[in-house]
Symmetry: C2
Subunit: 424 residues, 2 copies
Amino acid sequence: MIRIFKYSDIDKSAIFMRSEPPANVEETVAGIIADVHENGDAALVRYAKKFDGAELSALEVTPRELDDALKSVDPCFLEVIEKAAANIKAFHRCQIRSGFVLTKENGVVLGQKILPLHRVGVYVPGGTASYPSTVLMNCIPAKLAGVSEIIVTTPPSRDGRVNPNILAAAKLGGADRIFKSGGAQAVAALAYGTESVPPADKIVGPGNAFVAEAKKQVYGRVAVDMIAGPSEILVIADDTCSAEYVAADMLSQAEHDVLASAVLVTDSAELAEKVGAELEKQLPALPRYDIARASIDNNGKIIVAENLKQAVEISNALAPEHLEICVDNPFDYLDMVRNAGSIFLGKYCPEALGDYFAGPNHTLPTLGTARFSSPLSVDDFVKKSSFTYYTPEALAGVKNDIACFARKEGLEAHARSVTVRFDK
Amino acid sequence: MIRIFKYSDIDKSAIFMRSEPPANVEETVAGIIADVHENGDAALVRYAKKFDGAELSALEVTPRELDDALKSVDPCFLEVIEKAAANIKAFHRCQIRSGFVLTKENGVVLGQKILPLHRVGVYVPGGTASYPSTVLMNCIPAKLAGVSEIIVTTPPSRDGRVNPNILAAAKLGGADRIFKSGGAQAVAALAYGTESVPPADKIVGPGNAFVAEAKKQVYGRVAVDMIAGPSEILVIADDTCSAEYVAADMLSQAEHDVLASAVLVTDSAELAEKVGAELEKQLPALPRYDIARASIDNNGKIIVAENLKQAVEISNALAPEHLEICVDNPFDYLDMVRNAGSIFLGKYCPEALGDYFAGPNHTLPTLGTARFSSPLSVDDFVKKSSFTYYTPEALAGVKNDIACFARKEGLEAHARSVTVRFDK
């Protein structure tokens, strides 16, 4: 049973507590990374056997394997992912930026160039489910940014193959090469490179606690998108909303992972009770019952707030990955939302719509990091360079200012690098 | 003496090798972070005594201390930093972005909101020099982004005070509170909060190897700007450029730190020799001779390339923090530059101009991370949220597509969260 709290009555820290990552992960991951760094492909093949039960003769998916897989994909599914890809492209195209230039009358030119990253690694989890949607959500913004080479890596099945739906999405998303490797070892390969896997400039994509820890450990050597934690939804709903819809949306999050969390914040004690009952009603019919049950019982919460304004404040403090606002006039609350990865407005906007189809990215900040992080976007696949041009006259006009500033910082050579140009 | 290499003759890996961070740092920093997390202010006071030799009765700079310090600042210097601040503001104002909205004829509304971070910590190094310029370069973009609270932290002098020029820059830059703490302990305080120091959403600013390692260790709990390594310059120059200017610019980098690196890439063997001689001529006159000498001897390099195109390619492979292009028509090469933090164009554009004055940021990606990172900018102080609104009719139109996609991923509850809305 999900727990119901009255916000005014309870210990606030309990509400804001999130599940901690499992212990021991740090050391295990450090060992795997060192091994891949040292032993390259041989380590990847060994780990594929150990963790995925797959005997690999080659790490890279061949063109032939790709063709064979594409033939085996359900044509209806191909149509669906094409529609989804079109929506994802349309949204992310709005994120493409240009550089700028700033000119001054004394001939000074300042500016900012925007350049794509050269090579990006996209991690696609395997495990309890396979996620072609993740492939689209990561490859499409990279492609729009102009990345030259997109490398997908994903754990193989026991038979040494990659799920054909993943391969179809990778092809559609514009992936250039696909490797059969998962977990911390795949992250290590993308960070350091191996005989087969070229080193990437940035590693993106979700993963379990091992993948997240590996991304943290290689951060700095390469860029990473974010350190992902378990998935989360916070639903704000009032008594005009169907308990059935709310419960279904919470369960869509809960079925991901026993660590996933589904939270309802409502101003209606009646809706709270009804949603509690609906969860119990809908749970038994789910194929992933055990996972959803554990998630709801351990991490699920219903919080009864005094009003919807307070509900939004609670949400801002939690900074959820997904936020649904299931009320009649959801746009009334949009400006109040300060911290949330992706916001779903209204009663006909379940999170699953965004997971697959609507267009905004589904790679989102978890564990309260929406306080300072953003959904994955085209911005993640570009970098900026600034540039400065001064004429001799323009530099002469500011040479004393720069020399003064440099000397106050005790950096005489900085001062001289300007004055040397005017000494004669 | 600086070493001169002919590019075609040498082991390329030697050119691309960078100095490694000192060992042992990791463990020391982990200990400091745990100590500050557990003991809060008491640990900060203890470390201020141990590392800075300062006996502190309070960690925060008081309004009175601030006023007193401002009175003691050279009025000429105040004028200079005001001019610099105006230039920095003008450039960074061009980086301010708006969100967007995308509407579709079926009533669908998609969009992206851009929101400022709430509280940001700016680390300002003390040590061998004090850097009011760093205060401006970090605070101004934060302020322009709309950050509510900017916290500056910097190591105290032995007398328990903070350099008045730093305080003047902090006031001008819009800092809200200033703390006397440096090193890994200051980063820990900003990440976890103490009795005095409030926890920040993001930590920015340069620092030594301990500060860099501390930022790496708290990354994920809070955001960080980048993991900074030693400062670097790469100068591309042809034989039309004065050896005197090139040597002076290289020394301005070399005086920062023995680990700093200054590299010249030229198509002229003659210029290479001349710059080598000029370095020897200019070096003895520098107050920070020992540092600059060690940097030039250990990390300095002159590379003779076959032509300027190859020089730019070498630069792209090194991905320098600062790049000067000292030739007659520098804009001819701007498009070829793929990886560089800040680019200085022409013979009257020494790096020091950008360090203090021109407007672009001086917090830049080091150690080759310009491959994937960017200069500090307004973007570092905002985050994005996406939003989605669908009408009942619009959702009805795609419900089967979403259900199909969800079921292919084995996520039945995702499918049901959509179909439940149309069951009756």
